[in-house]
């Protein structure tokens, strides 16, 4: 099972790093650095600097996002921070405040 799931009642204050898919239902503060994709589920809260290959946000991200492939903000998501990714999808209904850098 090459995936990591952070449950809804879990609070992590620190750094998460790894090579596998990460799903966040809970709260992560600090720093996330995963090679694979990152999904912030509805109810999930990430207050961290994020580096990943691709990120999908259904919940809330408060921090800078750097994705090597793509970043997707789903409806009802909230993102405050700069996004740096070659491909960025912002769905209707998503809330976003910050700068976008698609320069690669």
């Amino acid at each position: 099972m090459a995936t990591t799931v952070i449950g809804s009642s879990i609070v992590i204050d620190g750094e998460i790093s790894g090579e596998e898919h990460l799903v966040v239902h809970g709260t992560v503060k600090g720093r996330i650095n995963v090679r694979d994709s990152l999904v912030v589920e509805n109810g999930g809260l990430v207050e961290a600097t994020v580096e990943t290959s691709s990120i999908t946000v259904n919940g809330t991200v408060n921090g800078d996002i750097s994705a090597s492939e793509r970043a997707e903000l789903r409806p009802n998501s909230t993102v405050i921070g700069d996004i740096r990714a070659p491909r960025i999808l912002i769905a209707d209904g998503a809330s976003f405040k910050g700068n976008v850098d698609m320069g690669g």
Binding site: G7, I10, D13, E20
Partner: protein, 312 residues
Amino acid sequence: MAQKTKNNLPSADGSAEVVTHIGPGTRIVGRLSGQEDLRVHGTVEGAVRLSATLFVEPEGVILAEVHARDVVVSGTVVGNLHAENAIVLTASARVVGDLRSPRISVEPGAAFRGSISMEPPDAEALEAEANASRSYGATRSASAPLVRGAISERPSNGDSRRAAPAPARQQAQQQQPQSVRLPPRRAQAFTARPEPRNFDPNHFEPRNHVERGSSERGNSERSWAAREPVRATLPPAPSAALPPARRPAFEEETIIVQHAAIRSSDDRSRRRAEALPPADHDDHAATPDEPRKKVAKPKPLARGKHKVERVD
């Protein structure tokens, strides 16, 4: 014991649905807290605080201080484990650290180095626990049978410092009623000074021979309290006899043995009450900023005490 409690222990395969899962390629550094089961296949460093069960899977590595309701270790843990309910070390477990839980199960094949304490983890630091144990006496003593029955699981070669105070403390609570316990301020003063500086080590040797119950490292508040009158008694003695440093060792030993023998008798609590009257506490509290005074205070009282003993 493991057989008896096995049914209530969390099973290693985890019957309940586990939501949170740290994959084998993931590493978490920092503080992790939560109210749900956590299954670690990867690495967690820092601190873990759960109100549910922590599963450390065979490939999982925990380098952290862990507080949880239950801990089931099949992998590697370096750090202290505190569980409110139970700790299970399965056959593939590798643990270096101290375990503290009311129920602990170590299966054959598990590797473990550290100490075990089977008191419930209701205080953070052990030093604080040692001091606070006077006020926690009533609740702690409820777990005394568990401690007695299970302490045999402690490895004999390990550092038993953490586990050792448990039996001594239990004894102390059972033997001395609440009314004669030392006031907290005095307790801190003695705990803060592990060895009385002005005291010849020779004075301690015979006491340890006489009072076999407490080990040298495991002497908790009971031993400190018991030792205090002896230390306070001998220095003022020169007015009545030769200076202590010049006197032959056997004389001092004789006196100390008398002390210890009388102390070990049943009227110990009465004597304690005499040696530390309430007036002394009040007087003592009036000058809290002079640490030297705290030690010197019992001297005159103890001298009077001393005379009574020698008459005996």
